[in-house]
Each structure stands twice: as structure tokens, then as C-alpha cells.
């Protein structure tokens, strides 16, 4: 799916939503997404550089230089969401033809396949990070080789201490120098402060929304919360994202006053790590068929800190955020971060169970499965359902198989509840 085709698909989704959606935030979501992709598509025409960036990279630095960063991993996720994961078949074949074994993370294989098949325009430069994903470093180096373009890698430290923050700050200074060289533009720190102010506003709103989601029963159906994480990650530091979060926050607040949108809430479930993105209808299905509600996702969670962003010290605050921002906080550093975060959200969101999606190509979090499962059972007495899958390749675990297996788990929850009541 070439970028132009994808943009048309986003336009189509937006038109469709406008005809039936009752929530402004849903429309705005796709308007912002469309703007983002149109900006990427027009970059070359407008003489702007096209930057292909890693999922953990500090997007604020790019926005401060008026560069729209194409987030490689989340681009694929959006293509899967909107275009359907079937479109990846050609890219996976292209990657196989390039010699990548199937044990390699499918996200990286698809990305490389997309570049080979020219579904992504060759970028002017590539920026990756070493946050938690070794695969990204190697895949990006392969991309650099394929695209014959310069690259910059931010080395992210293991420990979230003062030394780690200082180190990452220096890494970002190096990125700024790299961008200045590649764009022949002087970096404007005042502009960065403005962008970081917007990042702070969006971050504060996201935290508020996460707090509101603690309500019992849950304020609204949950399928869209994975999507919110994606939007935050690609647009953080833009005014559109702040507007989106304000509207969403107000909608949730209003919904909390009115009462829940779901008929029943039999079981509250936290979603840990990955999810099969080709089966997003799963959320509606589990809510409607069984009254099972996703109350929080590990990857949407901020690390446990009272730290607030400080736009007047933009690099310092971005370095600190690089440890506690959603998506990152549970998987950087020690396994303890993952376990403690899983335990914290299960407790704070009053979960009855956990769903742990283990992406078979990813070793980062999957190695923690047993520790997490045992800890949740021991500390909170809640069971964890583990499903091996590939988030973008349905043939590994088809949607029906996921549903069938999960139904067994739901029956188990029902039987345990019945036993407790007796």
C-alpha cells in the first residue's frame, strides 16, 4: 500500500466516521492523522526532508525543526489498522527475498519490505534509538544500507537516574547537531520550548485521561485506547494533539457524569504488552458478548513518577520523559519496571484478570511472561491469559483462534467468581 493509497484510505475512514460518529474526538483523530500523512507526503514537494524515525525517538525535536517525522513502526500499525494486515503479504515476501528469516520481528521485516517495494519513499535520513528494541537498531541499519542515506542513533541508557538523564540529553544534543548539518538549518531552542510546552499539555491531558479510566464501571468502550497511544506517539508536540486530548478528556468526563456506555461490566481486564492489531474487533466482541472490558493497557501507562515536564529546560525534560513516557516506561531498563507497572495498573484499575499478548518476534517483554503472571497471581490473586501471536501477521494466530481461546479463559473467570460467591 503506497502512501497515496493509504492517504485515500484514511480519507475514506474519515468520511465514513463523519456520517455516523457521535463523538467529535473520533473525527478529529482521523483529521489529525490525515494532516500528518499529507504533510509527510508533501515534504519532498515543499523541499523539506523526509525523516524516518524510530518509535521511541523524541518527536518534539523534529517538530521544532518543522520536520514531520514518519514513525516507522506506527506507520505499519496504522496501515494494518486501516488497510488491513493482508496488505503486508507482499512486503513480508520481499523481506524474505532479501534474506530476512521469519524469526525476525515482523514489524522490521514489513518495514524493510515496504522500502524494497517502494511503498515508502526513500528518506533523507533515518533516526533510531536503542531504548528497548535491539531489532530496531539492526533493522534501521539495514534500511540505511538499502536507502543509502545518513542515520543517527540515540543511545538510550539502561538506568533512569541523574547520570542516565544527562547522558541522553547529550545524545539528543548530538541529534540536533546531526539535523542542523543535514538540513542546513540552525536549531531554534525557543521553538523547542514552545513545542515542549505543547508536549507537556498533551502529556498532562493524557495522564488525566488515564486517571479518569480508573472509574468503575469504565467510562466507555475500550477499543480506541490503543489508537490513542499511537496518536500521542506520532503527534506529541503539536497543537492538534492537545486539542484532541482536550476534547477526549471532556467527552470522558461527560460520560462519567452520564454513566457508562456499556450495558454491563462483568470483568475488568488490563492488557499487557502487544495485541494482534488485525483483530481490533476483539474489544467490541468481548464487551458485547461477555461484558469484559479493557480498563488499561500497559503500553498506555506512564511510568510511576510525579515528575512534570518543564518546557524551560526542554532537553532535560525530554530526557526525563524518555524514561517515563507511555510505550517506553515498562520496557526500558530492568524487568522490574515491567512487573511493577503491570502490578500497579492491575491494582489501580481494579482488574479481575490480565491479557498478555506475546509478540513472537519480540524478546523484549516476552521473556517476562512468567514473572508477570506469577506476580499478579501471588500479589493480587488475578489470573493472566497469555497468547502467543504476531501483531501484524494474522496467519500466526487467526482472530477466531484468539476468540475461542479467550472464551475458555472467560469461562474460567466466571467459574472462579461463582465459586467465590458460593
Amino acid at each position: 500500500m503506497k502512501m497515496e493509497e493509504f492517504i485515500k484510505a484514511v480519507e475514506g475512514r474519515l468520511q465514513h466516521l463523519k456520517s455516523y460518529s457521535t463523538r467529535k474526538s473520533q473525527e478529529l483523530y482521523f483529521e489529525l492523522l490525515l494532516e500528518y500523512y499529507q504533510a509527510i507526503n508533501k515534504a519532498k514537494q515543499e523541499g523539506k526532508p523526509l525523516a524516518l524515525v524510530g518509535v521511541f525517538s523524541p518527536k518534539e525535536i523534529f517538530y521544532a525543526m518543522d520536520i514531520v517525522p514518519l514513525d516507522a513502526s506506527f506507520h505499519l500499525t496504522y496501515v494494518g489498522f486501516i488497510g488491513g494486515c493482508e496488505v503486508f503479504k507482499d512486503y513480508l515476501e520481499a523481506a524474505a527475498g532479501y534474506g530476512l528469516p521469519i524469526e525476525t520481528c515482523s514489524i522490521h521485516r514489513i518495514l524493510i519490505g515496504m522500502v524494497i517495494k517502494e511503498a515508502i519513499s526513500p528518506p533523507d535520513f533515518i533516526v533510531g534509538t536503542s531504548h528497548a528494541c535491539d531489532g530496531e537498531i539492526k533493522a534501521f541499519e539495514t534500511l540505511t544500507d538499502l536507502c543509502q542515506c545518513p542515520d543517527y542513533f540515540l543511545d538510550h541508557p539502561y538506568r533512569a537516574d541523574a547520570e542516565g538523564v544527562e547522558y541522553y540529553k547529550r545524545e539528543m544534543e548530538g541529534l540536533i547537531q546531526f539535523l542542523e548539518e543535514k538540513t542546513s538549518q540552525k536549531f531554534d531552542f525557543n521553538k523547542l520550548k514552545e513545542v515542549v510546552e505543547l508536549s507537556k499539555q498533551a502529556t498532562d491531558l493524557y495522564r488525566q485521561i488515564n486517571e479518569m479510566r480508573k472509574a468503575v464501571p469504565a467510562p466507555m468502550g475500550s477499543g480506541e485506547f490503543f489508537g490513542i497511544l499511537l496518536l500521542y506517539n506520532i503527534l506529541v508536540g503539536t497543537p492538534g494533539l492537545v486539542k484532541y486530548f482536550e476534547i477526549l478528556r471532556n467527552e470522558i468526563k461527560e460520560q462519567l457524569e452520564k454513566g457508562p456506555t456499556l450495558d454491563r461490566e462483568n470483568f475488568r481486564v488490563v492488557f499487557l504488552y502487544s495485541f494482534p492489531f488485525y483483530a481490533m474487533e476483539f474489544f467490541e466482541w468481548m464487551e458485547q458478548e461477555y461484558g469484559v472490558v479493557d480498563v488499561m493497557e500497559l503500553m498506555s501507562t506512564f511510568g510511576y513518577t510525579e515528575e512534570e515536564m518543564e518546557p524551560s529546560s526542554p532537553l532535560d525534560t525530554l530526557a526525563k520523559k524518555s524514561f517515563y513516557q507511555p510505550l517506553v516506561s515498562p520496557i526500558v531498563g530492568s524487568t522490574d519496571n515491567f512487573v511493577i507497572t503491570a502490578l500497579r495498573i492491575a491494582r489501580d484499575y481494579r482488574a479481575d484478570a490480565a491479557f498478555f499478548g506475546t509478540h513472537i518476534g519480540c524478546k523484549e517483554a516476552c521473556a517476562t511472561v512468567r514473572i508477570v503472571k506469577d506476580t499478579l497471581r501471588r500479589e493480587l490473586g488475578i489470573p493472566t491469559y497469555v497468547i502467543d501471536h504476531d501483531p501484524l501477521v494474522p496467519s500466526v494466530t487467526p482472530p477466531d483462534v484468539i476468540k475461542t481461546k479467550f472464551e475458555g479463559f472467560i469461562e474460567m473467570l466466571e467459574d472462579l467468581k461463582l465459586e467465590q460467591e458460593q
Binding site: 503472571k373 489470573p383 491469559y385 502467543d388 475461542t404 481461546k405 475458555g408 474460567m412 467459574d415
Partner: protein, 264 residues
Amino acid sequence: MIVAGIDMGSLTTKVVILEGNNILAHHIHILISSKEGVIDAQKAIDGALRDAGLSFDLIQYIVSTGFDRKSVAFANKQRTEASCLAKGAHWLFPSARTVIDVGAETSTTLKLNEKGVVEDIQGNDKCAAGAGIFLDAMAELMQLSIEDFSRLSLNAKEKAKITNTCVVFAESEVISHIHKKPSVPKNDIIAGIHESIVERIIGLSARIGINKDVVLTGGVAKNIGFVKALEEKMGMKVSVPDEPQIVAALGAALIAQSYVSPRE
């Protein structure tokens, strides 16, 4: 009160007809080409009724289970395999705390409490290497009936090393063992195959913990070579029902009983 449980598996449909604590009949229908679950279910229940000398209208309640359980239009209720396996295994072996079910295309491990309620579940990933179809493929490759394949490994002197990750890889390994000079004895190759699937299933079960007593169900439980390999690897005895394939159908029938006469 007569009830029935129907287990719509991927390769076979199993039916148990129950009255009180007596299994009046059980029937296993091999699916061949039908894509309509309801036809297979009807054939299977007709077979069981014939064996029991009963007519369909005497059955008061029917619970269906298995992957295709929703296709059984005449069932009063559907329950998943996990619940039914737990119910059936606990009824047969009240001391069971772990149920390992190895069917044609799936394997599942359940952790039960003392009341037979499921406390944890782990299913296999989508790979034949952890299920009965793997053994069928290997038996076919070695030109043996599954019965001979099952038995021969008991006479193995050593175990050939076979991968446990992929049927395709395993096939080429078996072929290379056969063509070695001197070739590896068949018994040793089969023992190696059994060990490879056992390792995979233990790896799966260990995710939720393996506690005594262990009950093995599903068609693969009829493979005595596999059972021996499993017991050796786990270092504990495994209980195998007389008819391990019908445990989920039995559990479904027991659940059907509870719907007709719920406990006060």
C-alpha cells in the same frame, strides 16, 4: 434424566450420553469431508443413541463443546473445551490438579483446584509440533500405523535427537536419521519424536505449573510411547482415562446435568 455432551473437535466429533453417574454410550465420529458441523454432530449423536438403544427425544439437555461447538444447532448450550475437560477429568479423577489435553491440532493444559474449577489455562501456539497431527505426520513418514508407531518406541535403546519446533524440520531430521550409515533404528527415531513433542508440551504446561495429579486426555493419550515419554520427562505418573478422547464430551454431559438439576 438423560443428557448428552458433544465435543466438536477438528478431526473427530465425540458424544457421551449420560444418565446419573452412568455413561450409557459414547461414540466417536471421524470427520472426513463434511464442512457442516451440524451434520457431523447429528451423525455422532445418532451413533451414540443407536449404541445405547435410545431415541433423540429422550435426551433432556445437550451441551456442545470444542472448536466448532457453535455449529451444533440442536445443543441447548455451548461451553468451551477448557471447562468441559476440567469437569470430565475431575469427575474421573477427583485428585487431578493438572489436565494435559493433546488433541489432533491443539494442546491445552489446565490447572485445577480441589473442586475441579479451572484456575489457569495455557493453550499451544499455532503449530502442529505440539499436537497429534505431528505424530500422524511422523508415522506416515515412517510408513507405520499410528498403533505400531506408538508401540515401537517402548523398545528404544536410545533416543534420536529431533527438533521440537517445526514438523517440516522434524521430517527432514527423521529422513536423515533413516539414511544415516548405519541408519538409526526406527524404535530410537520414534522415541526421539515422542520426546520432542513431550518437551514442547511440558514447556507449554510449565507456564502455569505442573502439579500432581496429572491427567492426560485427548487422542494422543492413547499413544503408549508418548505417555511413557511424558512420565519419564516429568518424573511422575500420569493418569490416563480408558477413553481419553471423550473427556471433553463427558464434561459437557456433566455440565448438561447441572443445567437440568442445578445444585441448590
